[in-house]
Symmetry: C2
Subunit: 349 residues, 2 copies
Amino acid sequence: MRKNIRIKDIALKAGVSIGTVDRVLHKRGEVSEDTKQKIQQIIDELDYKPNLLASSLASKKIIVFATLMPKASNQDTYWSKPQLGIEKAVNQLKAYGVRIQQFFFDMDDSMSFSAQAGKLLDANPDAVLIAPWAKREAIRLSGKLDEKSIPYIYIDATLEETNPIGFVAQSPSDSGYLAAKLIDWGVKESSLILLIHVAKELDNASHLIQREGGFMRYFEEKKNSHKILKIEISEGGEEIISQLQKLGIDPCEVSGLFVTNSKVHLAADCFKSLCVTPKIIGYDLIPQNIKLLKEGKIDFLICQKPELQGFHAIHLLFDFLVKKDTIKKENFTSIDLITKENIDFYNSI
Amino acid sequence: MRKNIRIKDIALKAGVSIGTVDRVLHKRGEVSEDTKQKIQQIIDELDYKPNLLASSLASKKIIVFATLMPKASNQDTYWSKPQLGIEKAVNQLKAYGVRIQQFFFDMDDSMSFSAQAGKLLDANPDAVLIAPWAKREAIRLSGKLDEKSIPYIYIDATLEETNPIGFVAQSPSDSGYLAAKLIDWGVKESSLILLIHVAKELDNASHLIQREGGFMRYFEEKKNSHKILKIEISEGGEEIISQLQKLGIDPCEVSGLFVTNSKVHLAADCFKSLCVTPKIIGYDLIPQNIKLLKEGKIDFLICQKPELQGFHAIHLLFDFLVKKDTIKKENFTSIDLITKENIDFYNSI
DNA sequence: ATTTTTTCCGTGTTCGTTCACGAAATTAAA
DNA sequence: TTTAATTTCGTGAACGAACACGGAAAAAAT
């Protein structure tokens, strides 16, 4: 237990009192330049690491984390998962004075993102966790946070143009790439393969674009004979049919299908009703998808351990803010493949 | 920050001193039956949860975790991964008085397991983490630990016949099942598929058997037309060829290949030298496998986040022993599929 | 030279627990 | 009844860090 150097040890070595050392540790002045330098030198030399336990015990300071993410709805329960991880982490850390304030926006409404972002800024938190769903609005928020020098971290996706202390997400491009590989494995040569985006504001959802990018990249590199067709819809699965009709394509010709988000159940339902069974790959373990996966109507779901993402992001904020660690910026989570066969055993730790 | 009830609050309510409450909390006697009951009742009523921070700060007690796992060799570096996670966790917990004592055995020598198990028992640790590699010997060890009522947890695999407080592992059967599905996706109808075990003492390595079980189960359920051939070798890849020859089979006929552990590189090297390229699936991101994966000689590696496993197992022991939480017994880690395409982004958190 | 201000630093209390020490209170022995 | 032994409990000092308070020394003002 002993062996760890304490403030007292530094004080002894420097020939000053505990209070003085404490003052330089917390940079709160009232120390002459000379002694300050001497003490700082000894701190560095001894590589002093404060005892977090004693520190939080003595301090009445509370640290507020704010979160900004989509609200989970009945149609889309995905965001309840990261929420669980976040709560778990905050619960673990509450003994250290960590508190949380959460803001939720409507996924289909970028105005709502801005509104909640405003409230978040008013709350003046010590650090922020953001799901950067609406690209333009998220960039604006990040600017404001930069101004106030409030550190922030992303979950689920990242935005290149901004300065978060890090992000926790799956590599969207590589998940798309993997999806392509699986489709390629599963279909015959020279097949018709559909890529489907289901989104209201596609241009504002950059990770969907990146998933597409990875998917396309695979086929470009392989130069094989498949025909890839891209379709964008905003709401119902029937739109797929109508768009195919417009192109003069019989749905029966489709032998592979990749949906770039959790809305894959719309597409699967659509083909199910047509009694056509292409190979289907999509994202995320939400109830509708799970059901179709078990029925064999969806073949693979790419999953990213959302619970772990939330949990880990909060811990990163804590490490950065409280422990003053240097944290890894890129935190890619695994690209988990869930099938009918292994879903029952998929419990994220 | 406030709001949590303290020992002092209990003492006040019971009309006794802090010391007395402390004595009943730690069951160290010297309290009359009457007051003990009264205090215990108040503790329950108020649902008192001790402040871990203050507790570890005041206590000089140290908690020793012992680990027993295979030693990583140059040929097999796999076990350096869980080791990393373990070290990371112990490092985090050392402020709470957690110390570690590690024992390593030779994977190919069950005598070595027993020898190290003996040393571990002599060390009389507070809790134990075991990689139950040698089944029979591990069962014996678990019995001894049960006798001394030292809690233990498994990593990498589990043993049904014993009483660990939990295990952290991939579901071997389901990983085998998934491998089968992938092979099935990737090969033509009526193919010849090889299942290869590379192990010195196969009957003593139960999770390899279970992986085989899952693999076989898939094809039994699907009733498709593939021919599955099982081969057991103990060391070099060339054994595969000789065994095929014995069976009168041309290696060129093999179109799919599943190796039940990280030794898949032996098989892949073997087929590489023959210039035959069946679809190959195996386990674990060790350097030899990574190389072959990138060359395209191995198609999929099933991975199980060994680092996270070690990390999580230590935390479970801590939660159980120190926080007195009830912990989940079955901790399945994800069945990650690594391909040439996504390996560079696979960093376990 | 004296007073006032400013700079610099030490002391002491607190956070919630642990635990050694020893003082009452109770019971047993004389 | 007095003394000794035992049971039962309270007190106070750590643990390492945070921070309020105020004192001494140096600098500035009178």
